[in-house]
């Protein structure tokens, strides 16, 4: 069993990658991810893993280098945030289309403008449809666990897809938390060396990233979609194995006190922990509140959601990003669409919260539950707490 230690979460995420014995790290530093980049660099410079650190001139190059390295059969880690992730945007769908199991640590941060370095989810949401598996962590322990799990899921022959692990910038990256760091032997048992499906090698020639003309492109897209849809089975399998080996349970949607809940909040990321306290307070006052925390954003866990909302009258979905001119936040529109076919579906309301690092307190979640209890807001979606 690993030891419980106090560690900054950004540092811990890099340590988790080191436990996975990565071969290549290709990273460009950006706030609030910089400590991840710096620490990965330290790990390589100190010779703690037999790896190369590629100092790139941009995020576009970071992910491109990561792809090249992965195509040679290396286990590759990268990390970014906000504008950096958007700059990677052009490469994102290619990494998944080429089925390269890169792991990316994303310190979620608002995108400009106005320029803002603080936390929300407006960086990852535009990447939703690029074909990457997306995990969302609540706390430092989950970050460490998910980084290790990400390699195992992504590298599985039934998956072969890149995985991003989302951790809230500052709220998680810059916070020292008590974390059980798994032992090297435990991780080695859980995660065997990467055995790639094919590699770029002069002795055994293979073409990767070829042209796909109109007569093949659609088939290629369907094949990629089937791969990510089916990957949920492997995610479940890996999470079960993790629970058995490490004693910490992971599921696509974690339900908190929803057995008899009337109104349930829905969160992704670190705000889930604040929302838990709000649920406890409301329960003490006799309000039947609950909480659903989404841990797996892509592939979206449709079946888990349908099961999780049984008996719930109102869902108060929180979003940490806007879909400008759209139907509400991306999580909200996803959930509403996922439940549309159900005969008995809850009322669903949407709060846009914590944008650009705006704090969301326990009393805010309490207020949201009270507002949501009516089953309808005065507007289709509410920018919670916005002045004016």
């Amino acid at each position: 069993m690993g030891k419980r230690i106090g560690m900054e979460v950004a540092i811990a995420s890099a340590e988790a990658a080191a436990l996975c014995r990565f071969d290549v790290a290709a990273v460009y530093p950006i706030t609030p991810q910089s400590h991840v980049a710096e620490h990965l660099s330290d790990i390589v410079a100190d010779g703690r893993v037999d790896a190369s650190f590629i100092t790139v001139e941009s995020e576009h190059s970071a992910l491109s280098s990561a792809m090249g390295a992965s195509a040679t059969g290396a286990r590759v880690v990268t990390a970014t945030s906000s504008q950096g992730l958007l700059f990677m945007g052009e490469v994102m769908p290619i990494a998944s289309a080429m089925r390269l199991p890169i792991v990316m640590i994303i310190a979620n941060r608002a995108v400009s403008g106005p320029i803002n370095i603080w936390n929300d989810h407006s960086d990852i949401m535009p990447m939703r449809d690029t074909g990457w598996i997306s995990f969302f962590a609540d706390n430092g322990q989950e970050v460490v666990d998910m980084v290790i799990q990400a390699f195992k899921v992504g590298e599985d022959r039934r998956v072969m897809l890149p995985v991003n692990v989302n951790l809230d910038g500052f709220q998680l990256t810059h916070v020292v938390e008590p974390i059980v760091m798994p032992d090297q032997e435990e991780v080695d048992r859980f995660l065997p060396p990467y055995e790639p499906f094919a590699t770029l090698h002069p002795d055994k020639v293979v073409t990767m990233g070829a042209l796909g003309m109109p007569e093949f492109y659609a088939e290629a897209q369907k094949a990629k979609n089937v791969a990510i849809v089916n990957s949920i089975d492997v995610v479940r399998e890996v999470w079960k194995e993790w629970e058995k080996g490490f004693g910490r349970k992971y599921e696509p949607i974690h339900a908190y006190r929803t057995e008899d809940a009337d109104v349930a909040l829905v969160t992704m990321g670190s705000m889930g922990e604040t929302a838990e306290i709000a649920v406890d307070e409301l329960r003490r006052e006799g309000v039947k509140a609950g909480l659903l925390k989404i841990k797996l954003w892509r592939p979206f866990p449709f079946e888990d959601l349908k099961k999780a909302v049984k008996g719930i009258r109102v869902l108060a979905v929180t979003d940490r990003a806007c879909s400008f001119g759209g139907p509400g936040g991306p999580v909200f529109s996803e959930i509403r669409s996922a439940l549309y076919e159900g005969a008995k579906r809850p009322k669903i309301v949407n709060f846009l919260i914590g944008l650009g690092g705006r704090d969301v307190h326990v009393e805010d979640f309490v207020a949201m539950v009270r507002k949501a209890a009516k089953g309808k807001l005065s507007e289709p979606y509410e920018f919670y707490g916005v002045r004016g």
Binding site: F197, A198, V206, T207, L211, G212, F216, E219, A220, A227
Partner: protein, 97 residues
């Protein structure tokens, strides 16, 4: 041409669309795109090789006499060779008239 051009169904797509038969792109004859073809007038040709250098397709080669010819399996008829040929030895003529 009885040989299959590529995967028929999405299930037949290799993971990552990888191609395990190297050089298979040469089987795709881009010459079928051509509307005009370059014709050399060797009486004007000074054998400078500018056409060979500028051909973006790399489909122009030097023959035994030092003149230049295009491989019409791949020549797309872009006309860059004719544009660059300063003795004006290359004319672009319609494929169909």
């Amino acid at each position: 041409m009885t040989e299959k051009k590529g995967p028929e169904t999405w299930q037949e797509i290799n993971p990552g669309c990888m191609v395990f038969r190297p050089g298979s792109a040469s089987e795709y004859h881009t010459g079928s795109w051509r509307a005009k073809r370059p014709i050399w007038d060797n009486a004007k040709c000074i054998k400078c090789g500018v056409c060979y250098i500028f051909c973006p397709e790399g489909c122009i080669t030097e023959d035994a006499d030092g003149f230049f010819v295009a491989n019409f399996d791949y020549c797309k008829g872009c006309g860059i060779c004719a544009h660059e040929c300063w003795p004006k030895a290359i004319a672009m003529v319609n494929e169909e008239d």
